[in-house]
Amino acid sequence: MITHLVNARLIDPATGRDAPGALRLRGGVIEDVAWGAFPVPGEGRVVDCGGQALAPGLIDMRVFVGEPGARHRESHRSAGEAAAAGGVTTLVQQPDTTPPLDEAALVQFTLARARQASPVNVHAMGALTRGLAGRDMTEQRFLLDAGAVALTDADHAVADAKVFLSCLRYATSTGALVVHHPQEPALSAGTCATSGEFASRLGLPAVPALAERMMLARDLALVEATGARYHADMLSTEAALGPLSRAREAGLPVTAGVSIHHLTLNEFDIADYRTFFKLAPPLRAETDREAMVAAVASGEVDVIVSSHLPWDEEAKRLPFESAATGAVGLETFLPACLRLVHAGRMTLAALFERASLAPARLLGLPGGRLARGAPADLVLFDPDAPFVLDRDTLHAKSRNTPFDRQRMQGRVRGTWVAGVRVFG
């Protein structure tokens, strides 16, 4: 089947181009890209994009899906529907399921489930250590052969430097990308806010921002010693950016991500003990947020993730310290990211570089570009359409969004996966 998407504003992060044009889709891929005046379509369906933006679908490399073990929080189907509604055409499942994805068979199982149930592309990361316990490394080769695109212990930092060194050293022979959550565990244990005047006034147990820099600095020393490929999954503090850039200048194979929450919210949002803003890492000072925005705009930080972490209502209807940690993000991913564009901090092409092309490159996936032969994974959106988010309208099973009742700008009008329209 042939589909023509005509009269579009094409955004290609690979070339940085942002101009009118049209696409011809066939067999699940982009068959042709026409910049400028669009040609008169031949056979096939024609979709008039009405001049709205058409870009490669977002690739979200940090998503929690509750299969196996917590389908009441999010199934592959509900996560996929939320993703499609948010313009995300590929999501990467984290391995912190129940049981964790620490064996090849479990990775195969969840990917098979996903391919039956999800309207979008699903990949998974495998666990870095067995049971995410930080003691014994997993079978890296088997996990990669089963389809894992990287290895990580998700929210769990590997405290034991010897274990982490082994994982990195072994990964140089398997080629695995090691993804780590750099939070010094002893300082982070039992905390739910960032140390400072505000958390002290609220009386919340807090972690100093330097807990992130400390763990990152350790990791970078081990990367230097081994040469393994390393990705810091979510940085959130200004203090961590110095060690990161020095490591890059030294030519280490290091990359970093940041969650959209840490680019758009700050520690003051937890005022009145609003548990939907309880995240890990905790929301930071405005100076940190500002530094992270600058770092992602300059490309110093490579990837933006939604850090989608669904929780049922009961888990959040608790006092702040006891409440569950995390927020959903798939469905609001694009509008939230567009805040950076509307604030004049990034171009649309740069945004899609960070949230589509960069993760694709990092994980060896084919998306993230408008080019002949690229997958026809696309999002059509009106970058300016204003709306007020009502969480009851979300597609996800869990609706713990920090953006409830907030003004957003930018609406997804259509999402295509392998040339098939899955939303809009």
């Binding site: 005047e197 958390a199 609220l202 009386g203 919340l204 003990y273 310290e321």
Partner: protein, 310 residues
């Protein structure tokens, strides 16, 4: 009158609110010293004391306050260990709410828990201490004690000494004393100071002798035993040596400085028994007396029926 539905903390109160509460408290101090200590301000009202964290004196004080105002008072101790905390909190709130109480007095071990509960009920809620956040009636009773002893509640230098980091009493007192335009000092080892304390509008001292110089009021805080074993302080005896209030250290404060403690005291840990029992300096018993009066004033202002035709 105060224009508040609940008393969740000192933070929302204006100086005028604080003065209103203290002025009304004075009338209850007088009442409480009479043989007949009963008025009918809360007749027909139901007050439920809901304590998720063990307390003897605060609960007794609120219970007595409610009874002296003529309310029907029910006190419930809910051990946090026997149930999963959060479920208990909202479920209990909803259950109690269905019984139409007029006042809920709540203590909980987690910061913000009382705010959360207040969102789920229709009646007035009084925070009797939430985690490390606030303990407003303690700060108000301290303010009343100071005002009576010093004749004013402005332009005084008040030193708060001890475990500031984990103390809701310290937070509420800092807010209250600052609102009334006093100079507040905090004195503690660095391990017991919360992050950002220098931005609370206080002077920070880690040397107790420096911090006490010229103070009008010395407010000691209780330190939990588990923090004295090397976690935050090397030992009990080193803590007493450096941060325990002794007569020698107190001599550095103003000659008429008063000594306060929210209780219960650890004698020989944060305070020398001779200082605690010095009737010329220690106002610790008076604080307990003021506690009942202040709580009567708060309960009266929140549920006493002014303005609703009762």
């Amino acid at each position: 009158m105060i224009a508040h539905r609940h008393l969740l903390g000192i933070a929302p109160l204006s100086p005028a609110d604080i003065t209103t509460i203290l002025d009304l408290s004075e009338t209850y101090v007088t009442l409480n010293r009479q043989r007949d200590k009963h008025v009918e301000r809360l007749r027909g009202r139901t007050q439920v004391n809901l304590f998720f964290e063990a307390s003897t004196r605060t609960q007794a004080s609120f219970e007595l306050a409610g009874k002296r105002l003529g309310a029907d008072v029910l006190s419930m101790q809910i051990a946090a260990s026997s149930m999963r905390k959060g479920e208990t909190l909202i479920d209990t709130a909803v259950t109690l709410n269905a019984m139409h109480p007029d006042l809920l007095v709540v203590r909980h071990g987690e910061s913000g828990a009382v705010d959360l509960l207040a969102q789920k009920v229709n009646c007035a809620v009084v925070n009797a201490g939430d985690g490390r956040h606030e303990h407003p009636t303690q700060a108000l009773l301290d303010a009343l004690t100071i005002r009576r002893r010093k004749g004013r509640l402005q332009r005084l230098t008040v030193a708060i000494c001890g475990d500031i980091a984990n103390s809701r009493v310290a937070r509420s007192n800092i807010l209250c004393l600052n609102a009334m335009e006093n100079r507040v000092r905090v004195i503690a080892p660095p391990t017991l100071l919360p992050a950002g304390i220098e931005r609370f509008g206080v002077e920070v001292f880690t040397d107790m002798e420096e911090g006490l110089k010229g103070c009008d009021v010395v407010m000691m805080l209780r330190i939990q035993n588990e923090r004295l074993d090397g976690a935050a302080v090397p030992s009990r005896r080193e803590y007493f040596h450096r941060y325990g209030l002794t007569a020698d250290k107190l001599a550095l404060a103003a000659p008429d400085a008063i000594v306060m403690h929210p209780g219960p005291m650890n004698r020989g840990v944060e305070i020398d028994p001779n200082v605690a029992d010095d009737i010329d300096r220690s106002v610790i018993s008076e604080q307990v007396e003021m506690g009942v009066a202040v709580r009567m004033a708060v309960l009266d202002l929140l549920a006493g029926g002014r303005g609703d035709g009762a």
